[in-house]
């Protein structure tokens, strides 16, 4: 899915997530509510890949799906691979917390009954752990006194820095970060991103899930654009330098809306996945909409990126060409 022969650390192929819900307050009939529909994205060694979508678009569920943290009434389909091997439930459970680290959005992931220093060390008391934890706290300007504080005694920004420290403490190969920097000023946000960059540069991978495209442009190598539950384009960051080098009309609209690029808004709002029109979810807002857009539209390779749009005649995506067979 990119112009590189680098090893895939994470590969997600047409992931769909839906929730089983009861139809109304008094009904016993169950309906399936789709939230993510055919999301495909991959992270290679040395890369930071950002999945960019608006808040409430379902993108946080991607992190939960990879880590098997979805609620009991969730249904998933599609496949996920880590280091070339299928991510089964058992495999996820053994990898998460060590090889796959998670920096969650909500600060409620911390244990309210344990001081933060101990949590970051996972209760270890050996000098090496203490030193590493102190180092990380120091880097994020968390003073000596913070080690003994409970989560409720820390500000929002402080708890986020604690969560970041937790993830970097171990020796993960992949970090999944879900909105890791809201509430941080640009200087501090960039600093935490620098650590992700250093981490990736060691030959590891970062999957960054965010609504903040400006942050993604600063920090990521590739961006997967998420709209109404599905990925519509995946492109190297360099393609975002101009509208012309971008593919999907929605991505172009994002580009035009940036304050540095015209600040021109596209009218309308993103539909809920349950209210989606047939075919392309962006159809109703697209100036290039045609009858062809009403059917199923596959992801195609165009240049160094991919796009899900009838305006393009690209190549079909080769599936798992690196998995031993071809």
């Amino acid at each position: 899915m990119s112009c590189t022969n680098k090893r895939h650390i994470l590969e997600i192929d047409e992931l769909s997530v839906s929730f089983l819900q009861y139809e109304g307050k008094k009904s016993t009939r169950q309906v399936e509510l789709p939230v993510i529909s055919k999301l495909s994205v991959s992270v290679h060694e040395g890369e930071i890949v950002a999945v960019v979508g608006s808040s409430g678009s379902g993108k946080s569920l991607l992190a939960h799906a990879i880590l098997d943290l979805l609620p009991y009434n969730a249904k998933t389909s599609g496949s996920m691979y880590f280091d070339g091997e299928l991510l089964t439930r058992e495999r996820i459970h053994s990898l998460r917390g060590n090889k796959i680290a998670f920096v969650p959005q909500s600060t409620t992931y911390l244990d309210p009954l344990q001081p933060v220093g101990a949590q970051v060390r996972q209760s270890r008391k050996d000098p090496a752990s203490r030193q590493r934890q102190r180092e990380l706290f120091g880097r994020y300007k968390l003073g000596q006194g913070v080690d003994e504080k409970y989560p409720f005694e820390c500000s929002g920004g402080m708890t986020r820095r604690v969560l970041l420290s937790c993830a970097l403490m171990g020796d993960p190969e992949l970090i999944i970060a879900d909105e890791p920097t809201p509430g941080m000023d640009l200087a501090l946000a960039k600093q935490s991103m620098e650590d992700f960059r250093a981490f990736a540069d060691e030959g590891k991978g970062v999957l960054l899930i965010t609504h903040d495209i400006e942050l993604a442009l600063e920090v990521a190598d590739r961006i997967a654009v998420f709209y109404a539950g599905t990925t519509v384009e995946e492109a190297p960051v360099a393609d975002f330098a101009s509208q012309e080098s971008l593919r999907h009309p929605y991505t172009k609209a994002l580009w035009r809306a940036l304050p540095q690029n015209g600040f021109t808004p596209l009218p309308g709002v993103q539909p809920y996945v349950k209210d989606m029109p047939e075919g392309c979810p962006f159809g109703p807002r697209c100036s290039r909409y045609s009858k062809n857009c009403q059917g199923e539209i596959p992801m195609q390779r165009v240049g160094c990126g991919t796009v899900r749009c009838t305006l393009y005649q690209g190549e079909d995506l080769a599936v798992h060409h690196h998995h031993g067979t071809s």
């Binding site: 608006s54 808040s55 920004g157 304050p259 808004p265």
Partner: protein, 198 residues
């Protein structure tokens, strides 16, 4: 009209020290001022004092030389960073709007608020949709000053652009003075006429 912060000093708890000391700030009706400073330093607290949510320990907030009214609609309105925390979750959105006291139908339309969102509860709307309501609510007929505290930080760029294009037109038309807090340099270049360091 003139909104003045005169020598403001404020602390949440005495033992923790002052959040800010002797802050002076003036905003005029045609002004669009950016409040700059790193996070966690008290910018939101200053906004809360300016909008009358908190009383300063020392100093005054004056509107045309007089203190903010203690009753009725406050001419200084604040829009918060997290809309889901700024609305009563037990009210339907149409009721949330009623707090706005005379929000013109035109504003509701221009903000892109869809009629069928009116009967929904806050939890049923996305952050972007909720924020539109919060902005409409703050634009009642009595509003003279608007304090926008990181209002689009949590929103995608298209929603941000829609909201700000509308707001800039609105504050210009109605001569509403604007104080903006934001981390985004590109956004501030579009929105602010001058900057003040906190």
């Amino acid at each position: 009209m003139l909104l003045e912060a005169k020598d403001l000093t404020f602390a949440y708890e005495e033992r923790e020290g002052n959040i800010f000391n002797h802050v002076n700030l003036t905003i005029e009706s045609h002004d669009r001022v950016a409040l700059m400073g790193p996070s966690g330093f008290g910018k939101t607290t200053l906004c809360k004092v300016l909008a009358g949510y908190l009383q300063p320990d020392r100093g005054q907030v004056l509107l045309d030389g007089k203190p903010l009214p203690k009753r009725g609609y406050c001419p200084v309105q604040m829009i918060w960073q997290h809309p889901e925390r700024a609305v009563n979750p037990r009210l339907k959105m149409k009721e949330v709007l009623l707090d706005g006291r005379g929000v013109e139908g035109r504003i509701i339309q221009e903000l892109g608020i869809e009629p069928d969102w009116m009967n929904r509860y806050p939890q049923e709307l996305s952050g972007g949709e909720l924020q539109r309501f919060c902005i409409a609510r703050a634009l009642g007929e009595g509003t003279r000053f608007l304090i926008a505290d990181e209002i689009s930080t949590m929103l995608d760029v298209i929603t941000q652009s829609q909201i700000w294009n509308f707001l800039l037109k609105e504050v210009e038309q109605r001569e509403i003075g604007l104080l903006v807090v934001s981390h985004s340099e590109p956004l501030l270049s579009r929105v602010a006429k001058r900057r003040v360091e906190f």
